[in-house]
Symmetry: C2
Subunit: 340 residues, 2 copies
Amino acid sequence: MLRPMPELPVALDAMGGDRMPDAAVDGAAQAHAEGVPVVLVGDPDVLAAAMNERGVDLPVVPAGDVIGMNEHASEIRRRNDASVVVAAREVREERASGFVSMGHSGATMAAALLVLGRLKGVERPAIVANVPTQKGDAALLDVGANADVRPRMLRQFAVMGAHYARIAFGTEDPSVGLLSIGEEPGKGNELVRAAHPLLAATPGIRFHGNVEGRDVLAGTTDVIVTDGFTGNVVLKLAEGEAKILFGWIREAVGSSLRARLGGLLLKPALRKVAERLDPSTYGAQPLLGVGAPAFIGHGSSDARAVRNALRFAHRTAQERLVPRIAEAMTDLAEVVAAEE
Amino acid sequence: MLRPMPELPVALDAMGGDRMPDAAVDGAAQAHAEGVPVVLVGDPDVLAAAMNERGVDLPVVPAGDVIGMNEHASEIRRRNDASVVVAAREVREERASGFVSMGHSGATMAAALLVLGRLKGVERPAIVANVPTQKGDAALLDVGANADVRPRMLRQFAVMGAHYARIAFGTEDPSVGLLSIGEEPGKGNELVRAAHPLLAATPGIRFHGNVEGRDVLAGTTDVIVTDGFTGNVVLKLAEGEAKILFGWIREAVGSSLRARLGGLLLKPALRKVAERLDPSTYGAQPLLGVGAPAFIGHGSSDARAVRNALRFAHRTAQERLVPRIAEAMTDLAEVVAAEE
C-alpha cells in the first residue's frame, strides 16, 4: 500500500507584524493543534524562547533579518535573509505549500512576485478582500495591488476572482459584478466601459454586469471586480464606516440610563452583528495571480488572525486554488488569441 | 427711504420626481411658511388642484411638459416646455435665485449646464454630497457628474468645494483632502499623483494632503475631492452600508425576547443615530460650477426633503455662493496662467 504523501506545511513569517513573534507562535500552535501543518520562519533564538515560554514545539526555518514596517518594499531585492523572503523561498523550493506574512504589505507582495513569479496570462496579481454581505461573503478585487489597470486586467481579475470564490466560499457558480456607477452596460468611466464587453465575452464566468457601490455589501454578486484604487477606497471606507457606526451606537447606549439598560440587554445580539463584520475571520488576504498561495495580513494581526490565516492558506493549497487559476488563465489566453 | 429689493424666489420643479406634485406642494408650503420665497414650476391645473386640496396659495410658472425618469437626459435640448427647463430659465432670466428638481438627475444637470452655463474657469461642474462624519458634515465632490477627469479639474473641485463648505457648514477655513490610497504625496493612481502638487500649490485653500477611504466618515477633512466615478461609488457604498448595518441591528433586536426588550429601551437613542445619517437633512445636492444655484434631489424625495432643499437653495443664494465661486475661479485662472 502506498503511504499518502506527507502534506507540505504553510510557511509563516513569524517576525513581520506588530505583535510578533508572540501572535505568530500562539496562532501557529492553535492551527497546528487543529491539524494544519506549519513551519515558522524567523530568528531561531527568538522563536525558541517564545516557544519555550508556551511549551510549544514547532519546526523553524531560520531567517536572520526582517523588513521593518517603515522600510521600502524594494528592500526585499537585496535582503535575502529577510523572514518574508525566506518564507516565499520555502514555497518556491517546494518545502511549503504557501506562505503567510503579517508584516510590511508591500514587501510581502513584492516577495511573492519576485520569488514565486506571476502565473502565465496574469499581467498583474491582485489582492482580494472577503467582504461580509447580506447574503454571505463576497470577494472584492483588486483592493490595492494596482492603482491603475487596463480593461483586460479587470478581465483577468474576474476569472481569478471566480475561481477564488468557488474555493473560499464554496459557491459552485459564483456571479461576477463589475463595479461601476449605473447598472447599464454603457455606464461608468472609460476603464469600466471598455472592460464590460470583455467580461461579457469571457467563458467560464457568470457575468452579472455592472454593480454599484450599494451592491457591494448587499451581496448582489459573489465577486466584485474593480481597479486597485477604487477597491482600496471601498475597503477602507467599508471598514471605517462600520467602526464609526458602532461608535455612534456605543455613544447612544451611554446617553441615558434607559439606553444603558437597553444596551445591556441587547449586547449579546449586537456582538453577533459585530462578529459578522470582523475581518480576522479569514485572517489574511490572498494575492491572486502568483505561482503559489501567498497571504497578506494586517500588521496588527493577533493570534486568532494568524490561526485563521494558516487554516485558510492550508485549505486553498489542499483545494488547488493556484493550479485551478493557472488552468483558467491558459483557457483565457486561448479566448484572447481567438479574439485578436 | 429705499425699499429693500424683494428677494427672488427659488424655482421648484414641481413635476419631476416620484411623489410630485404632492411632495412639492407640501414642501414648498412649509418652506414658504418659514419665510423662503418659492415659485412652483409645472402644470397649472395639476398644481392648482393640489394647492386647493391643501388650502395653499403659491405662485406658479406654467410648464406643460415633464422629463420622465426613464427618458434620456438629452431630451431637455428639444423639450423647451419641460418643467426642469422652465425652472432653469426662470433663474437665467433673473426671476428666481436658483432652482431645485427632484426629477431625472441627468436632465437636471443637463438643464443647469445648458440654460445657466458654466462659470469661467470651470471645465466641468461637479455634484457635491454632504456626508455625515464624526466631526460634523463634510463635502464630497464629485459624486457622479464626471466619471473621468483631469488633474486640473480636481483642483477646480477643491476650490469650489472649499467655498461650498464655508457656506454650507459655516466652517471658516475648511481643510481639503484628496481621496487616495495611502497618505503620502506619492501614493495613489496616476490622476491623484498628478493632482497632488496642483492642489498643494493652490492659494486660498487649506490643503491637508491625501486622505483614505476610512477618513471620509471620520471627518479628517471638511472637503474630500475625487473623480465622479470614485465619489459615486463611495457615496452609494456609504449609504448602502448604513442601511445594511441598521438592518442587521433590527434583525439582532428581533432575535430574542431579551434583545427585543433591549431594543425597545434603546429605540429613542438609536433613532438619533439614524437621524445623523439621514440624507434628507439638506434635501438636495448642489451642482457646483454652473452660473446660478442648481440643486439635484432624489427621485424619491418627500415633502421634508423638498422643504430642506428650498431652504438650503435660498440660503446659498443669500450668501452668494455662486458669485464667490466665480471670483475664486478667476483668481485660480491667474494662478494657472502664472504657472504656465
